[in-house]
């Protein structure tokens, strides 16, 4: 079991690490080093980090299920909020740097293009989760809080789909994210099945272990 002080240290480390992608973008931007299409670069980078942090957030529970270690579960809120932070940067880049707040064109782009609808929906869904992430809201919503926050699975699926559909031809990279998400959700489902009585055992827990490691 990790001490309170230990967790604080881990949280400080997360804070420092989580700001690095943003600082990198600012550094590259100031030095005019964002490449030929800087807006696309920032869009891609913030989008990628949103997905990465989301997957890291979603891996805390599988780690508990697989190893029995539970302290890292307390990091979910902080990680989830950083995911939201990068999602906000991502959408700000889109609305401001890409579309210069031309709402008519933005609405058209969202409605007409499936990958944009999917990404935008995922973003909208993160708002209530971020808004109810504090202790007071947790207490107020009681058991509903848990139900509400199950939306994170949908957000993750939409997020990966958003990446998949945006790619012109080579889906190798989105495939990695889809695979990671499938493993993370698979572990949850497996343990959920296992905890139910009278359910036949599935045989691939060791395979899942190997994939996680």
């Amino acid at each position: 079991m990790m001490s309170k002080q230990g967790i604080l240290k881990v949280k400080i480390a997360i804070w420092l690490m989580a700001f690095m992608p943003l600082f990198r973008l600012i550094w590259l931007g100031v030095n005019d080093d964002l490449g030929a299409n800087p807006v696309e670069f920032v869009e891609r980078s913030t989008g990628t980090w949103t997905l990465v942090i989301l997957l890291v957030t979603l891996s805390m529970t599988p780690i508990r299920l697989l190893t029995g270690v539970i302290w890292q579960v307390q990091l979910r809120r902080l990680l989830g909020l950083f995911m939201f932070f990068y999602a906000c940067l991502h959408i700000t880049t889109y609305v401001w740097l890409d579309y210069s707040f031309v709402w008519k064109d933005i609405v058209k782009d969202i409605i007409k293009h499936p990958y944009v609808i999917v990404g935008f929906s995922a973003f909208v869904l993160t708002i209530p989760l971020a808004a109810t992430s504090n202790n007071a809201m947790m207490r107020r919503l009681k058991s509903n809080w848990k139900i509400l926050h199950k939306a994170v699975y949908l957000i993750a699926i939409l997020g990966v789909l958003h990446f998949w559909w945006l790619v012109k031809k080579d889906v190798t990279e989105p495939l990695y994210y889809a695979f990671a998400l499938a493993v993370l959700l698979g572990i949850r489902l497996y343990y959920k099945q296992k905890s139910k009585p009278r359910v036949a055992k599935t045989q691939n827990s060791t395979i899942l272990d190997a994939q996680i490691n």
Partner: protein, 356 residues
Amino acid sequence: MLISNKSKQNPTDIKPSEITPRAVFEDRRAFIKAAGTGLIAGAALIATKSKAAQIAGGETKGAGLLLGRANQGTPLMAVDKKSGLYNPHQKISGVIKTPYGADEKITKYENATTYNNYYEFGTDKADPAKEATLFKPRPWTISIEGEVKKAKTISIDELMKLASLEERIYRMRCVEGWSMVIPWVGLPLASLVKWAEPTGNAKYIEFISANDPATMPGARVNVLDWPYVEGLRIDEATNPLTLLAVGIYGELLPNQNGAPVRLVTPWKYGFKGAKAIVKIRFVEKMPLTSWMKAGPNEYGFFANVNPEVDHPRWTQSSEKRIGGGLFAGRIKTKMFNGYSEQVGQMYAGLDLQKNF
């Protein structure tokens, strides 16, 4: 019908003097540096301690450059004799400045040569510049085939002598919603068509690109059905705007931009511009292009720039001009990429919503 040069001259066209000087857009990662003016005279080149030079022949210190000359002073050979590598910074002399221009600012050389869609070298836009170093565009032959009287294989140097080389400053609009302005050097495709003497059955031209997995790492992956195939209707091919480009910014094409010869059709989306062409086939039926095979509902044969016809993924009514920086916003995309006057009549009566 040929468009008269004089009638096309307009005050907003870019004058050659306004083009960013070579030195300003020098590619920092260029692997061979020419020593002073030695290039023109065929003097010694100093290959720098580059990755490419190391791969090809170990430590190359002073490498001689063989330089032949065509009738207009056009270089015949652009290969560093010792390393065997293609020299990307080879000036093309005797290029005619034609009034084909665009009123926009020319894209920086560095951007035009490091942000490329050329899947034979990888799907990331930074890949071609990094992965194309082993590709050898010389010696090179192009096979002229099909419905023509002169079905034969010609060398790149013969091709470059078929007509005077001209500079054309064209906008290039990518289907992904970004655009550049590029000073191409090349010859009108019409001059090759005329030379080849097509038969009455030649309704379309099919362009087939190089497919060499040994030097093209992206071609080892089945992202598209290799080799890359593109096509034009014969009237599109002979339109005065259509260019067989052999150079950009006054120099021979770098590998990542489609060396040694590529197609340029400025009123169409960029993917129509087949690169590293090895076969030009005159055919009766409409060729099935690589992108039509890959996504028939996304990519049509014509691929004319059209702000009215949206792509399932990208907005086509506006575009990002490369080089504008973070806060430049988008610009409106024009019908036929602003070349309606020159090409519009070819599509009169054609439903462009269906024939996208």
